[in-house]
């Protein structure tokens, strides 16, 4: 079947939110080329467990496509229509299983040397329907370096050109200071899932999760989900057959129910999000640093938080892959390696949050825990500069944010 033959009945098995959305946009879906229609359906299928920002974003993209002038639309989808797609993929049940179609199509595009053409076409299409929304002011705080020796190594090198290096941050009761600015910024919006505190270790005791619209999660709090994922991974590696693809397929086939995410949260949106942090990634199952970075990335792309606090903790020491699968509760941590992981992670968070920020409305601070050093990037923070004045966090944000 091809998209032009889609009917409203085809979406009867979809959850209510997705079904309604698909029917509302049926004409647009029918006009999409085979190569990209399932990508839209994949998002529509899980609309009932998507963050509000994801729903709005999909709505805006679909509206933008519907309002494209006919000639422009034809020009944008033409490269997709020139891709050859095997008949068996078209004949597969891509309406009900769009994720499988996308996986299979991706493999086919690589093997048939069409991946570059697809990539180029996708970049042009999404540039044409790019969200022009004026985003609210976002505040991102990244904390890392706990227990690490920081002398002798230049810190924050990737971020220095982006903001002011604070060398004399007054860090007395820093958790309290951070809670204060988190709460102050969160007052601007009480929408659900607008503010997040993610910790790679035992979280601070301040009640971030009780701030209206805020969610607080930590690596230890999701330990049961992680261990169930590790058990599934170990099953694959000890099975004696298959490989990376099988492992990926097994993981992505697991849902919140399989991982018993209901034991962590009753919210179906969060249950799916927490599940996918482990089933659609590589790294978070093993390393808390990867968990924090990946969670920040996924939040920026999906929940689009107004306030985001990411705190890294020392990750486990590196061990052989299979050993790490077997021993979910390792002995020994690597603070210095974690510091380097987190520095890169902080840089990636800055990139991700910059993508969803309007000009002048993106304040970012990365603080090296246990030191008085931080980088602050904001509308009044000239890149590559340094401030040696003793400042409390709130005052630094007021001055440069």
């Amino acid at each position: 079947m091809t998209p032009d033959r889609l009917r409203a009945d085809d979406f009867a098995p979809y959850p209510a939110a997705g079904r309604g959305f698909a029917v509302d946009h049926l004409e647009m879906l029918r006009r999409l080329p085979m190569a990209i229609c399932p990508s839209f359906l994949q998002q529509i299928l899980v609309l009932d467990t998507s963050f509000p920002a994801e729903v709005s974003s999909l709505q805006r993209q679909c509206d933008a496509i519907e309002h494209l002038e006919q000639g422009k639309f034809a020009a944008l989808v033409s490269p997709f229509q020139h891709l050859s797609i095997p008949a068996h993929l078209e004949e597969s049940d891509w309406v009900q299983s769009p994720a499988k179609f996308i996986t299979d199509l991706t493999a086919y595009l690589w093997s048939s040397s069409q991946i570059d053409a697809f990539r180029s076409a996708a970049q042009k299409l999404f540039a044409a329907i790019q969200d022009s929304t004026l985003y609210p002011h976002r505040l991102t705080m990244v904390v890392f370096g706990r227990d690490a020796r920081t002398t002798g190594t230049p810190l924050l090198t990737k971020l220095r050109p982006r903001g002011v290096l604070l060398t004399a941050l007054q860090t007395q009761d820093m958790p309290g200071q951070i809670f204060e600015v988190f709460s102050r910024h969160a007052k601007e919006s009480q929408e659900p899932f607008a503010h997040w505190y993610v910790d790679g270790g035992e979280p601070w005791t301040q009640e971030f999760g009780k701030v209206p619209g805020a969610v607080s999660i930590s690596y230890p709090a999701l330990d049961d989900l992680r261990k169930r994922t590790l058990a599934k991974m170990e099953e694959v590696t000890t099975g004696g057959s298959g490989g990376a693809e099988l492992m990926r397929a097994r993981l992505t086939s697991m849902n919140a129910k399989d991982l018993d995410a209901g034991s962590v949260t009753e919210d179906p949106v969060l249950a799916r999000f927490y599940t996918e942090l482990f089933t659609e990634s590589s790294g978070p199952q093993l390393f808390s640093t990867s968990f924090v970075q990946w969670t920040g990335r996924e939040l920026a792309r999906r929940a689009q938080p107004r306030t985001l606090l990411l705190r890294y903790a020392p990750r486990r020491r590196y061990q052989p892959f299979n050993e790490m699968l077997r021993t979910a509760d390792p002995e020994g941590v690597d603070p210095e390696g974690s510091l380097r992981d987190a520095e890169m992670g902080a840089y990636y968070t800055w990139i991700e949050m910059s993508r969803i920020a309007s000009s002048g409305k993106n304040t970012f601070i990365a603080w090296v825990e246990g030191t008085s050093q931080a980088i602050l990037a904001g509308s009044s923070a000239p890149g590559g500069t340094q401030c040696d004045t003793a400042l409390r966090l709130k005052d630094a944000l007021d001055a440069f944010g």
Binding site: S111, P284, Q293, Y318, P320, G345, I351, R355
Partner: protein, 387 residues
């Protein structure tokens, strides 16, 4: 909003060139004339040997030859590059999976088979061209590869070639696993040498007693090292790549093969998202390349007659590419993931030179063929600067 800047291969190459010329005072290809040795010296040169090292894992510019990455590769930059020719723009236009990309390098053809299935490449390999074309014995071509998936890379399924002309394949982890099987050695202390990662998970291979016997036999007859000595030496090593270099040295001493390929794979730990481990592995690969060059120069069978080629199979995703997650993977197909470099050293190779024009990773096989005197059916082109 952040602009979504997509790097072009030319801009990647330019950034490498600017750094290399600024930092090392290298000469460019356009200023060179008369690559290679005079004909009179070629006529009296001893039979050449070739060693090819790939970085299976992909390494990005930003952690290697770009200015910000230079501290990770002091040996490649300070010791090896001044002795060789550096190609700053090597394009991989194929599938960015390690096994299939390595197969493409050694067949000189963009292979399209499933990266995750250990199948022989359909097109003839460098080893088959070499052995058939030059009538070389089976002991003259070897592959040392760390991962289970590479066991079929020594020969193709081509009807005109095949295993009878292929290379011997040594999988160091399999050797170690076989050596540890009898339970007389402390396998826990060596587990770090059996490491693998998300892209190549180690399985409990259903090895038969016969398989183990074959591996142990390879240790003792091919590498001339007892199980006890092998395990003892392994206990002094830090990683799978170090084990591969140890076996390379042993092979060079015992058989002095004319054609050897080695894949360093530690850096693919990047898939776990731990930047520090990825960089550590790059630094280790840098050191091991220098050790290998030193092994070449101190072994009379190899000294002054060996060409060493070093290249990553491809790069990794750009930090700025919204389709990826930076260094962690190589899934976007973006320019940074497709563009890498090649460093060649040897008696006929121009020293201290940079070549900026783009070449492809499939060009290496026909180039080696042109140099050693056998033909190939690769669609790649001979790299003139290396002949």
């Amino acid at each position: 909003m952040l602009s979504r800047r997509i790097l072009s291969p030319a801009s990647i190459s330019r950034s490498r060139r600017e750094f290399l010329q600024g930092g090392l005072g290298l000469i460019s290809a356009s200023s060179m004339s008369g690559f290679g040795l005079p004909m009179s010296r070629r006529l009296v040169a001893p039979s050449p040997k070739t060693i090819l090292v790939t970085f299976g894992g992909g390494a990005r510019d930003s952690e290697t030859f770009a200015q910000e990455g230079q501290h990770n590769i002091p040996h490649l930059l300070g010791e090896l590059l001044p002795q060789g020719t550096f190609f700053s723009q090597v394009v991989n236009a194929g599938i960015l999976g390690h096994y299939v990309a390595t197969a493409s390098i050694i067949t000189g053809t963009w292979e399209r088979f499933d990266n995750f299935i250990a199948a022989p490449p359909p097109n003839p390999t460098l080893f088959e061209y070499f052995r058939k074309g030059l009538r070389r014995p089976s002991t003259d071509a070897w592959v040392i590869a760390p991962s289970n998936g590479f066991q079929r890379i020594g020969s193709s399924s081509s009807a005109a070639f095949g295993p009878n002309f292929g290379a011997g394949v040594i999988l160091p982890k399999r050797l170690l696993s076989a050596a540890l099987h009898d339970g007389r050695h402390d396998s826990d202390s060596l587990a770090h040498l059996l490491q693998d990662n998300y892209e190549m998970p180690v399985y409990q291979p259903a090895e038969s007693e016969q398989d183990r016997e074959l591996h142990l036999n390879m240790l003792e007859s091919t590498l001339s090292v007892s199980v006890a000595d092998f395990v003892r030496h392994a206990q002094t090593l830090d990683s799978a790549d170090e084990l591969s270099i140890f076996i390379t040295g042993q092979l060079m001493r015992q058989h002095a093969p004319s054609l050897l390929m080695l894949t360093l794979h530690d850096m693919d730990i990047a898939h776990a998202g731990a930047y520090s481990l990825y960089v550590d592995a790059i630094q280790r690969a840098d050191r091991l390349c220098a050790e290998l060059w030193n092994m070449i120069q101190t072994n009379p069978e190899y000294k002054d007659r060996t060409t060493l080629y070093i290249l990553p199979d491809f790069g990794r995703d750009s930090d700025e590419d919204p389709a990826g997650n930076g260094f962690q993977h190589h899934r976007t197909g973006g320019a940074l993931a497709r563009t890498t470099w090649l460093l060649a050293l040897g008696p006929h190779i121009r020293q201290n030179a940079v070549v900026e024009r783009p070449i492809q990773s499939i060009d290496l096989v026909p180039t080696i063929g042109c140099h050693l005197g056998f033909s190939t059916t690769s669609p790649g082109r001979c790299i003139g600067e290396l002949l």
